[in-house]
């Protein structure tokens, strides 16, 4: 951590003034208006769109970086070079078909790209998106079911009083969430609703308030003191 009190150079001081000024500006725009003189909200929106444009450029840098790293893998025939080939083929084919045929297509009205190319690319893009991307993403997400089962099996052990309370509350909420459990006894969903409405809400609010205060202090230190 940067614990030393460094003397700021002129460049650092200039950067600090910009950081503090912009941060303070965004903070006061939320609370203060200057009607009839300047629309502060419009100014902040405009600045935000410039920042978004700058940040978006990083995507291009990211693609270039990814291509460079994996191209080096392929060139030097490293152990996993075949996977790098697959990655680059998938990356650029999805990129090309998305630019031609996705809802974010560059030329949806076929002004420059011939209509026949768009017609050819659309079913391929739909296959890649709906049949491969959606299903693969869902499959990885579904692994969570198995991980939750093993985590619950390991974690829900009545080692102490607190662990026992956690165990009982956890089991009651799971049973309350289970559609079929309400057929066994309707009280499960009532208990679940109570646990979610009171202890869960209280605990979540406590952590949220504390985290919000932590963000305020963290952010103020970032704004006031550069380098970090």
């Amino acid at each position: 951590m940067s614990g030393e009190n460094k003397k700021m150079s002129r460049g650092d001081l200039g950067l600090q003034i910009i950081i503090f000024g912009l941060g303070f500006f965004y903070a006061i725009v939320y609370y203060i208006a200057v009607p009839g003189v300047i629309d502060l909200q419009a100014v902040s929106d405009e600045l935000l769109s410039y920042i978004t444009a700058v940040l978006t450029a990083a995507f291009a840098i990211g693609v270039i970086n990814l291509t460079r790293v994996h191209w080096i893998n392929i060139k030097r025939k490293r152990a996993t070079w075949m996977f790098s080939v697959i990655l680059l083929v998938c990356l650029y084919s999805m990129l090309i078909f998305s630019l031609i045929a996705s809802p974010f297509a560059l030329d949806p009205n076929a002004t420059v790209i011939p209509n026949s190319v768009i017609q050819f690319s659309t079913p391929i893009w739909q296959f890649l998106y709906y049949k491969i991307l959606v299903n693969i993403n869902s499959s990885i997400f579904s692994l969570l079911a198995f991980f939750i089962a093993s985590a619950a099996y390991r974690a829900f052990k009545a080692r102490s009083l607190e662990a026992t309370i956690l165990l009982v509350a956890g089991l009651l909420v799971i049973l309350g969430q289970t559609p079929i459990a309400d057929v066994i006894w309707p009280g499960f969903s009532v208990i679940r609703d109570w646990i979610m409405a009171f202890p869960n809400t209280a605990g979540q609010r406590g952590i949220l308030i504390a985290a919000a205060l932590g963000i305020i202090v963290f952010s103020v230190r970032r704004l006031v003191r550069y380098p970090w």
Binding site: P103, S138, F141, K157, I174, I180
Partner: protein
């Protein structure tokens, strides 16, 4: 254990088993809110989930959208996730739109790229989203002429997988313009939405695929249609069985733990 889990999930799907699901208060709250909307109200549906949670949130989106098409309301589709416009089109291809016409009764405005657009849309939609997903200028759409800004909307429903979109709608639309917000949430974030529901900042919370089945039942009870449209009912037995299996395994683990402790104490 993993094989058991796989078995209890797959078998009910293969046997097409179903189970009656009681209606949660949070699902009922949203259904009743939509039922009470006056004719010609504007509802904004926001698709803010990634492809990974399609099995969980897509059924919710389908049945809620179908409900909105059954009611005399106007609908705008937006998205804060870049997969949103594609998923919105997929939902529109699935539901029965009845007599509703694109551009007059509903429109798909596409992706909201940044916070500035979110903040500006209540005052002017066409200024911040000049084109819809079909390339039409939004200023020319009859629905936008009727509702030039979001601030007159009666409801915003977000299907969200990480709560960021829901919180942004609460912050910028509910807080500033008092537009009611509801969320269709995944099971991981839904508990975190309960404080917002209890404080009235959310008018409804749909808990995962189970809520889709509950909502489908409510629509069926009211309109005598649309059973099976979301596909959620086929998952309920598998969902129940897997959750009950986890409960059984936890009880088994604790029983084994107690016995092993007793034996080790007896051994001393």
């Amino acid at each position: 254990m993993y094989l058991l889990l796989l078995g209890v999930i797959i078998l009910p799907v293969l046997t097409h088993s179903t189970v009656p699901v009681p209606i949660s208060p949070t699902t009922l709250a949203l259904f009743q809110f939509i039922e009470r909307l006056p004719a010609n109200s504007l509802v904004v549906e926001s698709f803010d989930y990634a492809t990974s949670v399609v099995p969980e949130l897509h059924p919710q989106a389908i049945i809620v959208t179908q409900h909105l098409f059954l009611r005399p309301v106007k609908i705008l589709f937006v998205a804060q996730d870049n997969n949103g416009p594609t998923l919105a089109e997929a939902v529109l291809d699935t539901v029965n739109k009845g007599n509703k016409t694109y551009g007059v009764d509903y429109a798909d405005l596409g992706y909201i790229p940044n916070t500035a657009t979110l903040i500006g849309m209540p005052s002017s939609i066409s200024k911040f989203l000049p084109l819809d997903t079909r390339g039409n200028p939004t200023a020319n759409l009859p629905i936008i002429k009727e509702f030039p800004g979001i601030k007159v909307a009666s409801l915003v429903i977000t299907f969200d997988d990480d709560s960021s979109a829901a919180l942004s709608y609460i912050q910028y639309w509910e807080g500033a313009y008092h537009i009611p917000v509801a969320i269709g949430a995944t099971s991981t974030i839904a508990p975190g939405m309960m404080p917002l529901f209890n404080s009235g900042q959310l008018v409804g919370v749909l808990f995962s695929i189970r809520a889709a089945d509950e909502y489908e039942e409510l629509v069926y009870q009211q309109y005598n249609c649309c059973r099976g449209i979301s596909g959620a009912s086929s998952a309920m037995v598998g969902l129940s069985a897997s959750q009950l299996l986890i409960v059984v395994m936890v009880v088994f683990a604790n029983t084994a733990y107690f016995f092993s402790r007793r034996m080790s104490k007896g051994g001393k």
